[in-house]
């Protein structure tokens, strides 16, 4: 008996659909309930980021980077600032480095909370979303006291940060961490080891490591496939080499290495590691002036640079070419979510319609960053 093939049906998901995490259209070709092809169609949120950058000064680019990955704006500021600093050979004060690491790791936790909560929603668990948003709110409150903004911070500048820590901030972060750490166990009980959740995600959408590498997938998605690669460890920038933390990788606990559950769980464990880093940074933070190294004019010498940093979604890199003027000649952003989305077609073939949304959710994409 051969396999019976029916006619392929083309189905459109999006551009406006709650489970596409933004404005994304998926052109799905299905054979009955089985997926034979998924073609993501992107560009609905294209705002000409790179073209804009060629018309504004280096300082003015920073608010634009906020708006690329609006879930983890601190990390985007961070990556950009580090890149321009390396091009200009600026050494920033120790205090600034510590502040940056603290806010970047807090933002990583906030980003992962949103990713995990929304992932629960994608596969039908509504409650964990509310718990995770409750805790994410606390981080946003901390950021509000820090710089006045809750989502788009414009906080990390080239050569420094916009404000020093407000009085009582360190204590507030400590008490948040004390509150938050036990909550991770709560999420695990609520969602991670839930039988229905495991059925929906374990063994689904397996991404073998060589596929992940070939598609340029990075960050938690790559680590979910069992590849131990983290720029904070393998190519340390800022002061990440001073901290002691582990890189969690997927182990195939609930199925095969590289399935949706692994990608989900890597993020869960990563939050613990972020807490660890934040605690060490809070302990070691020195005194100093955060505005000391701010350059009067940002006018990098002629040259080009490609610099990678670890955002919550993976390798976030900026390629900057300077012609010696205060305006970038060329600025390219290598977005981790862009590469993560490109693998969707490959890993969702042969799965059911409902699994495609589970796979898409597990990749944790942000359309603002994909379309730029």
């Amino acid at each position: 008996m051969g396999v019976v093939h029916g006619d392929l049906m083309t189905l459109n998901i999006g551009p406006q659909h709650p489970s596409t995490h933004g404005v994304l259209r998926l052109k799905v070709k299905t054979d009955g309930e089985i997926i034979s092809e998924v073609e993501p169609i992107i560009g609905y949120l294209h705002r000409c980021f790179e073209k804009h950058c060629e018309n504004v000064t280096y300082e003015q680019v920073i608010p634009y980077t906020d708006r690329c990955d609006y879930i983890a704006a601190m990390n985007n500021n961070f990556g950009y600032a580090v890149t321009v600093e390396e091009l200009m050979e600026i050494k920033v004060p120790e205090r600034v480095e510590y502040i940056r690491v603290i806010v970047a790791e807090l933002n990583r936790i906030a980003s992962h909370l949103l990713a995990l909560g929304a992932y629960g929603l994608d596969v039908g668990a509504f409650t964990p979303f509310l718990y995770m948003f409750r805790d994410r709110e606390r981080i946003l409150d901390l950021f509000e006291t820090l710089c006045g903004a809750r989502l788009l911070y414009n906080y990390i500048w080239v050569g420094g940060v916009s404000h020093d820590l407000p009085p009582g901030f360190i204590g507030a972060v400590y008490s948040f961490l004390d509150y938050f750490e036990p909550k991770i166990e709560e999420y695990n009980e609520l969602l991670t080891y839930n039988k229905i959740f495991i059925e929906r995600t374990g063994d689904v959408g397996v991404m073998p490591p060589e596929v992940a590498v070939s598609y340029g997938v990075t960050g938690p998605n790559l680590r979910g496939s069992g590849v131990k690669w983290d720029i904070r460890k393998d190519e340390p920038y800022s002061i990440y080499d001073k901290f002691d933390f582990d890189i969690p990788v997927g182990a195939g606990e609930m199925g095969t290495v590289g399935d949706c559950w692994d990608r989900y769980y890597v993020r869960m464990v990563e939050m613990k590691e972020s807490v660890k880093i934040t605690r060490q940074a809070l302990k070691g933070i020195p005194a100093g002036d955060v505005h000391q190294a701010l350059p009067k004019k940002i006018r990098p010498p002629q040259g080009s640079i490609y610099k990678r940093t670890e955002s919550p979604r993976g390798d976030l890199a900026y390629y900057i070419v300077s012609d010696g003027s205060p305006i970038p000649y060329r600025l390219k952003m290598r977005s981790p979510a862009f590469t993560a989305l490109s693998v969707l077609s490959e890993i969702s073939q042969g799965w059911m319609m409902s699994d495609v949304l589970a796979i898409l959710g597990s990749l944790d994409i942000v359309l603002g960053e994909i379309d730029r």
């Binding site: 560009g43 340029g216 690669w229 006018r299 060329r330």
Partner: protein
């Protein structure tokens, strides 16, 4: 020129020769600054003429900021290896943090770089289009990375502005598919051998190549007036 100005310029040039370009860039007065820059070029030329031993950092070429000694030697190693395996495929012999290559054999070279056990560049990190300016050439820049050896190189391929064509590496690194579509979308560089060379971020019927330096926005799109960008952003 006042004595004070001359002194300022001399000091700034001395600092710049020592590697601190900010000394010149920080001069407030525009005329003085440009004079200082001219003096710097002159000083550099003089230094080159007197000392035949060339200092690579003094060339006016665009310099890669990230020039750790190990990385530089890797680029040189790769270039030497490619010169041997694929003669006449390099555009320039000297390696200055990146490898300037001809487009001709790029697909085969890419496969070689990925599979050679010494290099194992299994990850294509980034593809950047680049425009040298109105009427000049276009360029594609590839940042390669090896997961095994944890090293990176940059490869640049120039192509003609009026007929920009570069071989596609979609089959070598799968992410090449989307990266090349993006470069095509923004610069109009066609990647030969790509299975689906269509726009990715802009709408399919958009006119022109937005990131080229001589780009002019179309006036209307489906009857909607495209707002003109005013000169000088606030």
């Amino acid at each position: 020129m006042s004595d004070e100005q001359i002194k300022l310029i001399e000091k700034a040039v001395a600092n710049a020769l020592a590697g601190d370009m900010d000394a010149i860039n920080d001069i407030e007065d525009r005329v003085t600054r440009s004079k200082a820059k001219a003096a710097l070029v002159k000083a550099k030329r003089l230094a080159k003429a007197t000392t035949p031993a060339e200092d690579p950092s003094n060339t006016d070429e665009l310099k890669v900021g990230d020039s750790a000694p190990t990385e530089k030697s890797l680029s040189e190693k790769v270039a030497a290896c490619l010169n041997e395996k694929f003669p006449n495929s390099l555009e320039a012999e000297d390696v200055n943090g990146h490898i300037q290559m001809k487009g001709k054999n790029w697909f085969k070279i890419a496969q070689y770089l990925r599979d050679n056990p010494d290099f194992l560049f299994d990850s294509l990190q980034c593809v950047t289009g680049y425009d040298f300016g109105e009427g000049e050439d276009l360029e594609v820049r590839y940042n390669l990375h090896s997961m095994t050896h944890n090293h990176t190189i940059e490869i640049r391929i120039k192509t003609d502005r009026n007929n920009p064509k570069v071989p596609s590496v979609e089959q070598v690194w799968r992410i090449g598919d989307w990266f090349e579509r993006e470069t095509f979308d923004m610069y109009g560089i066609e990647f030969e051998g790509h299975s689906n060379m269509i726009r990715i971020l802009c709408p399919e019927d958009w006119e022109g190549w937005p990131l080229r330096k001589d780009y002019e926005t179309q006036e209307t799109y489906h009857g909607i007036v495209v707002p003109k960008v005013k000169d000088g952003w606030e």
